[in-house]
Symmetry: C2
Subunit: 240 residues, 2 copies
């Protein structure tokens, strides 16, 4: 299985999106990177380990979640190939309980110390990473509004819209269809619903002709309709 992207491609994309200089790019390319092939369900990082490193996805999907005392789980972010996964881990203790792979995939990691060394002499790179953290925060706040104030159909529709846009941005869509490798239970943990209700919501979305599903593939048949239902505006993703 070849990775969706290479380490070099990842850095080049970061450089392009943030207008970094050639010198900056070369500094990034010189960073020692550790690659790991992980299976579905494997932990990308454990909260008990203080492994201060910054990692990103070369292939596969991952999620970060918080566990509550009563056993409930809240997935707070989902990561697609080309995303940073543990960007904020260069700082103190992680703020989530688990980061796991949704699918088999490859994770690349840079030790925090090495990264800090480069950042100290490359302010533009640090700005790029800071900006990425700001985008992560922006996504969190959008999810907050979705979970806090939207009904179940709108929440699920919003999640689907977000993934459609994010996956298109990294070329992981076939026309209007894309792969969303999450079980309904995981979708429930991401939207603050129950698996049973996610099932019913997906049923409703299918019956109203907005989407079609086949295994874990989502086909959006009525993008304007789905956007309207979700009250979706992609600005918060910080892309264009």
């Amino acid at each position: 299985m070849s990775d969706a992207i290479s380490t070099e491609g990842f850095w080049a994309s970061l450089a392009a999106k943030n207008a970094l200089s050639q010198d900056d790019l070369e500094a990034l390319l010189s960073l020692p990177v550790r690659r790991r092939n992980l299976g579905a369900g494997a932990a990308v990082a454990r909260s008990n380990l203080p492994a201060k490193s910054c990692s990103f996805l070369l292939s596969g999907f991952a999620y970060a979640s918080k566990l509550l005392r009563d056993g409930a789980r809240q997935i707070v972010s989902v990561h697609v190939p080309g995303d940073f996964v543990t960007l904020s881990h260069v700082f103190e203790a992680p703020n989530v309980d688990e980061i796991r792979m949704l699918t088999p995939g490859t994770v690349a990691s840079v030790a925090a110390a090495a990264l800090h060394h480069v950042l100290a002499s490359h302010p533009s790179i640090q700005t790029a990473l800071w900006r990425q953290t700001a985008i992560d925060a922006s996504i969190f706040s959008e999810w907050l509004a979705a979970i806090g104030r939207r009904d179940a159909q709108s929440r699920v529709a919003h999640l689907l819209c977000e993934f459609a846009v994010r996956l298109r941005a990294v070329g992981l869509t076939n026309g209007s269809a894309f792969d969303l490798p999450m079980t309904q239970a995981q979708l429930a943990d991401a939207t603050g619903l129950t698996a049973v209700h996610v099932n019913r919501v997906l049923n409703a979305l299918r019956q109203t002709g907005l989407v079609a599903t086949d295994k874990r593939t989502i086909a959006i048949n009525d993008w304007p309709g789905l956007v309207a239902l979700a009250d979706f505006d992609s600005a918060y993703l910080g892309m264009a």
Copy 2:
């Protein structure tokens, strides 16, 4: 009315918390700052204005919220004196619809251009701001878990615990009591509930002896009990 803190005190606190050098601190102190006295309800920043600046609270409370198409509001963050308010606004479009004062207060602002100029030559300062953005993201994700997976009592209790800790950190508590200048409708918008239900929840918290309220003052009578109900762990605030 004198401000709770001064601009100089704000920068000094930032420097202390991030182990910045004397040179860094002096660079911060040399930044041109615009101070504004705002009344309750006044807009700190408007989403339509591309006023790229970074602002922080010298006194008073503020909140940031998103508005949904159907008129619903979700408050995504509340800011206390000493907090940055529009830190991520140094980047692109703001990710919230409104930022308003909860009380009269003073806001200090630094133009993004001036800030960027300093950051380019002071990597440690940029790291400090980046770290603050990471903490903001951490708070978002904690709220996400609270709203997504906790019941109403636990959500409200969690919010009260958070404010108790944050206000104690800036010396704005009297013993176990503190001022939380939010109406029940605003608490509802922050917790994803309705004002009516927040009222009932507060009633229950009072009747079980966990808290007492007087106007907008909250007295926590049973801190361990409230923490247990909220499943609260202050680690996500990135303080100690």
